[in-house]
């Protein structure tokens, strides 16, 4: 499998704070990787480093290039939506198409126009006249029409209503993603992208808390819902996190077999959102 991103000992210090502290991970081609972490965990810093927008320490290769030194040539392979609100207010929809068509060798204008026809966006409108959801649709139309191999999305649906958010990810999955392409994204709304992701990386205080393919999670992590009278026995198996739900206690185990846990209560595979909370609030592994 081709490696798209390779980080080794990636470190970034802002005013004495280590936003990233020796982080190592790899992203392979054809994956959809969620970079998940609380505010200030270092997600955006990691993405900025990958996009060549900020200098860093350590070794980081994107398509074998140093993104900071080769941002210009890298941007032919990489697309990103850094934030929902970064298209300039004065830009007209038609001008946005003209511009990207003029500077991007891999932009297929007809594709963007076809996508825009399915929306309520009119060509002569300025970005300032569009709703926030429409601006994101426009940005998505531009991105979908670029034949890039890596797409980086930083909170792409922040502030959008549920309808637009769902549509955004559906479009991404159906019209964009294929085995040649790789998507790296961050979001607060983990629940919404759970089914989308092939890999998750949890990041907290500049460190990686978990880095795993989604299909591996079920084998590694188990959630056990136990009645309080069974809790003592369950705790002997050392859950790394527990919390109370409706009179039951949900315990999260790593590396325990189902056979060990089944007699104690009801077992299930934790959702990524639950696992995230457990990992962030549980004792540091």
């Amino acid at each position: 499998m081709t490696t798209i991103i390779e980080a080794r000992g990636l470190t970034k210090v802002y005013n004495g704070t280590r936003a990233l502290d020796g982080v190592s991970f790899t992203v392979a081609a054809g994956r959809i990787v969620g970079l998940i972490g609380p505010n200030g965990a270092g997600k955006t810093t990691a993405l900025k480093s990958i996009l060549g927008l900020t200098p860093f320490e350590g070794d980081l290769r994107v398509f074998g290039k140093n993104p900071y030194a080769d941002r210009y040539s890298l941007m032919q392979e990489v697309c990103f939506i850094a934030d929902v609100a970064v298209l300039p207010k004065w830009l007209r929809v038609s001008q946005a198409l003209d511009y990207v068509a003029g500077v991007h060798p891999r932009f297929e204008r007809a594709r963007a126009e076809e996508f825009l026809r399915k929306t309520d966006i009119e060509m002569h409108k300025r970005v300032r006249e569009l709703s926030k959801g429409m601006v994101t649709q426009l940005h998505l139309a531009l991105i979908l029409a670029i034949d890039a191999r890596l797409l980086v999305l930083d909170e792409p649906t922040l502030g959008l209503d549920l309808l637009y958010r769902r549509q955004f990810y559906d479009t991404l999955l159906n019209d964009y993603f294929d085995k040649e392409r790789t998507i790296l994204l961050t979001t607060h709304q983990v629940e919404e992208i759970e089914n989308l992701l092939t890999d998750v990386i949890f990041i907290n205080r500049g460190h990686i808390a978990l880095d795993s393919p989604v299909e591996g999670l079920a084998e590694r992590y188990v959630q056990l819902n136990v009645r309080p009278d069974q809790a003592g026995r369950a705790r002997e198996l050392q859950p790394f996190y527990e919390r109370e739900i409706f009179g039951r206690i949900a315990m999260f185990f790593e590396g325990r077999s189902s056979e060990e846990l089944v007699p104690l209560g009801e077992i299930r595979t934790p959702s990524i959102a639950d696992l995230f909370v457990a990992k962030m609030q549980g004792a540091p592994a």
């Binding site: 900025k48 697309c79 298209l87 830009l91 990207v100 500077v103 060798p105």
Partner: protein, 295 residues
């Protein structure tokens, strides 16, 4: 695996158009002024009649050429104001509204971005306005001619002077290029401030020169910086010399470029010191846009 970097030449037209989309005053203000001038030509011939009835006006050379020179000068004066605001804003606005993240998501280098803005300010807009002045002057002549050519008294002033006309337009064109070189450090300084200032671009544009001027005065009791800036901003060399020489070239009985000392201007040390300073400032601007991260 990697596509060859897009040749810079391919993207240039749209990079320039993008500047004109964002900063519409660059072309709207001159167009409005040209339209006003033509309207004035259409409606004021009546006033001329009254004035002329007092006797023949004493005008040296061709009054038409004089009017053309005046219009061109006013147009370029307006341009200098519009470009001042353009340069102050062009690398600041994209940071303020964070659209820099969109521009940087596309394969356009910081070098191409900064050079485009410099070229727009020093060459694209001046050349565009040169063409605008050229066309407007011809149309204005046509209007005036049609209105007064049957009037014996006024008709004698509205005459065509091909040599003078060629000379005037030739001199102005040469000056567009000479002034591009002369003002390069000023434009580059503004770009640097625009790329650097966190806020209050205008304060940061004006403050450092003032501090230098008065700092020098306080410490050394001299005014060298003030004189250098006065000359550079064209109150002395560029502006006055340009209009004076263009006037003489237009009206004087000499050859096409006799009125201007092109060789003298192009060999003046100040010209090339300015170009070197400009190159340094442009380089600094590219580095700032590239390495700064305040989004």
């Amino acid at each position: 695996m990697t596509a060859a970097p897009a040749p810079l030449a391919k993207g240039w037209p749209v990079l320039i158009r993008r500047e004109l989309w964002e900063h519409r005053s660059l072309w709207m203000a001159p167009l409005v002024m040209a339209a006003l001038y033509l309207v004035t030509c259409l409606i004021t011939s009546g006033f001329g009649q009254n004035r002329a009835s007092g006797g023949p006006l004493h005008v040296e050379g061709s009054p038409i050429l004089f009017a053309q020179l005046m219009f061109t000068s006013v147009l370029f004066a307006l341009m200098s104001i519009v470009i001042f605001f353009y340069l102050a804003d062009c690398l600041y606005a994209e940071r303020k509204d964070r659209s820099i993240l969109f521009w940087k998501s596309l394969p356009v280098s910081d070098t191409a971005t900064v050079l485009t803005k410099l070229a727009v300010a020093l060459l694209i807009v001046p050349l565009g306005l040169y063409v605008l002045a050229f066309v407007t002057n011809l149309v204005a002549f046509g209007i005036l001619y049609l209105r007064v050519h049957n009037d014996g008294l006024l008709g004698q002033f509205v005459t065509w002077d091909t040599t003078g006309w060629l000379r005037l337009n030739g001199v102005v064109l040469v000056y567009v290029f000479i002034l591009a070189l002369w003002y390069a450090p000023v434009a580059a300084y503004q770009l640097l401030v625009s790329a650097w200032a966190k806020s209050s671009v205008f304060v940061w544009t004006v403050l450092p020169p003032l501090v230098l001027i008065f700092g020098e005065r306080l410490v050394f009791g001299t005014w060298h910086v003030a004189w250098i800036l006065r000359d550079r901003l064209g109150i002395n060399i560029a502006g006055v010399a340009a209009s004076g020489r263009a006037t003489r070239a237009a009206f004087g009985p000499r050859g096409l470029f006799d009125g201007i000392d092109i060789v003298g201007l192009l060999t003046a040390p100040a010209m090339w010191i300015g170009v070197v300073v400009a190159a340094g400032l442009v380089f600094g601007t590219m580095r700032i846009r590239r390495y700064r991260d305040d989004t």
